[in-house]
């Protein structure tokens, strides 16, 4: 179980030698508790302390890598049930399923999946892999489909979906070096599957039926005993309620009970329904603990929404909420509406824009990038100074939107007005109220366009 900073501190040498890079042992211990550093950085920790700290810091959910090379992805190693408690670390892989029976479709799908990319907030989001599903055509056909996918999409991680050890064996002879995820070992075939996974050092999914976690744990333990370390769990649920219950229980067993046989990432199948049906299942899987999510077919409209949700949910919630620094329109401002500037701390923005809205006076509200700090804090930290304000105005694209050149500064930085005036030639710098609550009065009775 996770130790607090103070508990860890008591196990450390308490010499404040600074060799770990932290100013004190307590600072190091606190960072260790947040999993922000490693115990190995302390050169003087005793073996005894090391043993107890290692036990406490072993990841309750194993980190499993799927695929090889650049596009390989890692899942697992999660430490919380709710993202606000810390963060979710390894976003689930989104893979697209295709049946093995038509090589043309396999090839086309593999190409599309491999090349799919969408831009969002400066990041290129991509799909993580393709799942080739054995359609019962025999080992050779399955292996051939896998070969088609590999050549159509080199380096794209694979999920080999078959319960036939012969088919999986043939496919692994083809693609074993790529570390595909084999799905799945079941009560009926686990010895052979484990043998194959071990032979090719591949991750192996174990599947129980209808959410039977006891059976799943047995299976995972057997496979592990057979020498497979990288395991992915499939509790065999296909309905939303069953999936939620099973996934939640798995996550709780791993984190709260430190139950090792089930301390692995989970694979979810969202079924073969309409785009919105799949969207609902996949949104559940993304928010509730899936490590790999298998979509049924390549549907960009669905994929884009899911990748966006995935990116959102796996954002670090410990970072302060920041507004995007840009020019906001509050109400419907015109060329003669006032221009106010503030910082990009969300609460500051909400307070200021709320007061402006309440005033009924439409306003151009320019939000400067101040690392999410409030006006006074940002000023104190030198992140909201004359230079930053001038830059924000210049880069805002205000262009022809205004017919006046007046900028209203927050009252708290009244002292900057002279400097801002120097930086912004031709602008008149006005000082607004210190407190947001006085903005309506200011806008109605003080501010004049000319």
């Amino acid at each position: 179980m996770a130790l607090t900073g103070l508990q860890i501190y008591k196990l450390l040498p308490q010499t404040n030698c600074k060799e770990c890079g932290f100013p004190t042992c307590l600072a190091f211990a606190m960072k260790l508790a947040q999993k922000g550093t490693e115990l190995a950085n302390c050169p003087y920790v005793s073996d005894e302390a090391k043993a107890s700290l290692d036990a406490a810091s072993a990841p309750p959910i194993r980190l499993v890598a799927i695929g090889a090379g650049e596009r390989a992805f890692e899942v697992g190693n999660e430490v919380v049930l709710f993202r606000h408690e810390k963060t979710f670390y390894h976003q689930p892989g989104l893979v697209v399923r295709v049946k093995a029976d038509d090589p043309k479709i396999v090839e086309l799908t593999a190409r599309m999946v491999s090349s799919y990319a969408v831009e969002r907030v400066g990041m290129s989001l991509r799909l993580d892999g393709i799942a080739i599903e054995d359609s019962g055509g025999g080992a050779a056909a399955f292996a051939a489909a896998v070969a088609v996918a590999r050549s159509a999409a080199p380096g794209l991680p694979l999920v080999l979906m078959s319960t036939d050890p012969a088919a999986v064996g043939a496919a692994l002879d083809e693609a074993g070096a790529d570390r595909p995820l084999v799905h799945a070992a079941t009560a009926a075939n686990w010895q052979a599957m484990a043998e194959l996974a071990k032979k090719h050092s591949c991750p192996l999914a174990v599947r129980a039926e209808s959410g039977d976690l006891t059976a799943l744990a047995d299976l995972a333990a057997q496979v592990q005993d057979a020498g497979v370390d990288d395991i992915v769990l499939d509790p065999g649920t296909s309905d939303p309620a069953g999936m939620l219950a099973a996934f939640t229980q798995l996550r709780r067993l791993a984190l709260k009970k430190n139950y090792r046989p089930l301390g692995f990432p989970i694979i979810a199948f969202v079924g073969a329904g309409s785009a919105e049906e799949q969207a609902a299942m996949a949104a559940e899987a993304i928010t509730k603990y899936a490590g790999v999510i298998v979509l049924d077919g390549f549907e960009p409209a669905l994929i884009y929404a899911l990748m966006t949700l995935r990116q959102n949910v796996y954002t670090d919630p410990q970072k302060p909420i920041q507004m995007e620094p840009k020019l906001y329109e509050v109400g419907a401002p015109t060329a003669s509406s006032p221009l106010l500037i503030t910082t990009n701390f969300s609460l500051t923005y909400f307070t200021v824009s709320g007061e402006i809205e309440a005033s009924g006076v439409p306003v151009w509200l320019l939000v400067a990038d101040a690392d999410g700090m409030s006006v006074l804090t940002a000023w104190a930290a030198g992140k909201f100074d004359a230079e930053k304000i001038a830059k924000t105005v210049t880069a805002s694209g205000l262009g022809g939107k205004l017919k006046h050149h007046k900028l209203v500064l927050p009252g708290y930085v009244a002292g900057l007005s002279g400097e801002v005036e120097e930086e912004l030639a031709g602008w008149e710098i006005l000082v607004g109220p210190r407190e947001a609550v006085e903005i309506p009065n200011y806008l109605k009775s003080v501010w004049k366009a000319d």
Partner: protein
């Protein structure tokens, strides 16, 4: 191997039961909607009781929303020109209740009078038997004027009056208090602010079973994660027994998700965004589902396909294991 012991939390609190709509004592609804009562996290039937399924409200506006996404207007057809007909249609499509926005009373949207608003509300009440959530235009003074008039004219209907915010709640709360209505308390994506507003409103004497909370919705790609975590935290606090976080939660999924470029723009966007009509509906459904799992009790949505899908999801999730 022995049977696994599934970790089950022993929650001490429950979400408060809130009933919208009334069938007697001034209420003219043919049915009411009760939300809340959960004693566990969303849909964890193995752990606690979920006596009331989350519900879907369809959004209806009192004027033809010409600026709405073409995909929506096409799906809704001509009924958007008559709020009563629109509401009837949405109930027919499976909405559990109607969220009526009195947009035309906004000073910039026609500035219709409070009396007009009352007439609109009455026409919708007459057209459907389900409960109503009534939104003012979202401008402080006009909200107060319009919602007070509506509250007075519909005494006993147990409407939910929306929205009370920290800068403007007293008048609306007083109107709810005097006429047996409910209120929606909206705060900007913050656990503490949500709780504070609940406390302030309850300090005015409005009983907690007449309050819904709206933690402010962000759509997928536009802050859904903030809403998600705030809701999750509020729900956890509620289950841990914090009486000021136990209000059922309402989310404006439709409004937020249809406002985004992904849902509004068909052409001139990257090919990887996929087919427009599907994308727009999926965006609303994805937002709704994420928030359903964070603890939403009432989801306000717009598109007929979304209503159908969210209802299907809720039905599936309510099937205990």
């Amino acid at each position: 191997m022995t049977e696994l012991e599934i970790p089950v939390e022993k929650w001490s609190g429950a979400v408060r039961l809130v009933t919208l709509g009334a069938t007697g004592d001034g209420g003219t609804r043919t049915s009411t909607v009760t939300v809340g009562g959960e004693t566990t996290l969303p849909f964890l039937h193995f752990e606690g009781q979920i006596p009331n399924a989350p519900v879907v409200a369809a959004e209806v506006v009192d004027m033809h929303p010409a600026d709405w996404s073409p995909a929506l207007l096409e799906a809704l057809g001509d009924d958007t020109r008559d709020p009563a007909a629109w509401a009837r249609k949405m109930v027919g499509l499976g909405a559990d209740l109607i969220s009526l926005k009195l947009r035309s009373t906004h000073p910039d949207q026609g500035d219709r009078s409070a009396a007009d608003a009352v007439a609109t509300v009455k026409s919708v009440l007459a057209a459907v038997g389900v409960p109503l959530i009534v939104y003012g235009p979202g401008v402080v003074d006009k909200d107060n004027e319009v919602l007070v008039a509506v509250a007075d004219a519909t005494k006993g209907e147990r409407l939910a009056l929306a929205t009370c915010e920290d800068k403007n709640y007293r008048t609306i709360v007083a109107a709810a208090l005097g006429n047996g209505h409910l209120i929606v308390a909206q705060t900007p994506i913050d656990v503490n602010l949500a709780k504070q507003l609940n406390i302030l409103i309850s300090d005015m004497g409005l009983s907690l079973d007449r309050m819904l909370m709206d933690p402010t919705t962000g759509a997928v790609g536009y802050g859904v994660e903030y809403t998600y975590s705030v809701m999750e935290r509020l729900r956890l606090a509620a289950l841990m027994g914090d009486g000021m976080t136990q209000q059922p939660m309402i989310c404006s999924v439709g409004e937020e998700s249809w406002r985004q470029k992904e849902s509004r723009v068909a052409d001139g966007v990257p090919e990887s965004w996929g087919e427009y009509a599907t994308r727009a509906v999926v965006w609303e459904v994805t937002t709704a589902t994420a928030l359903l799992h964070a603890g939403a009790d009432i989801l306000v949505v717009r598109h007929p396909r979304s209503i159908a899908q969210v209802q299907r999801s809720i039905a599936a999730l309510m099937k205990g294991v």
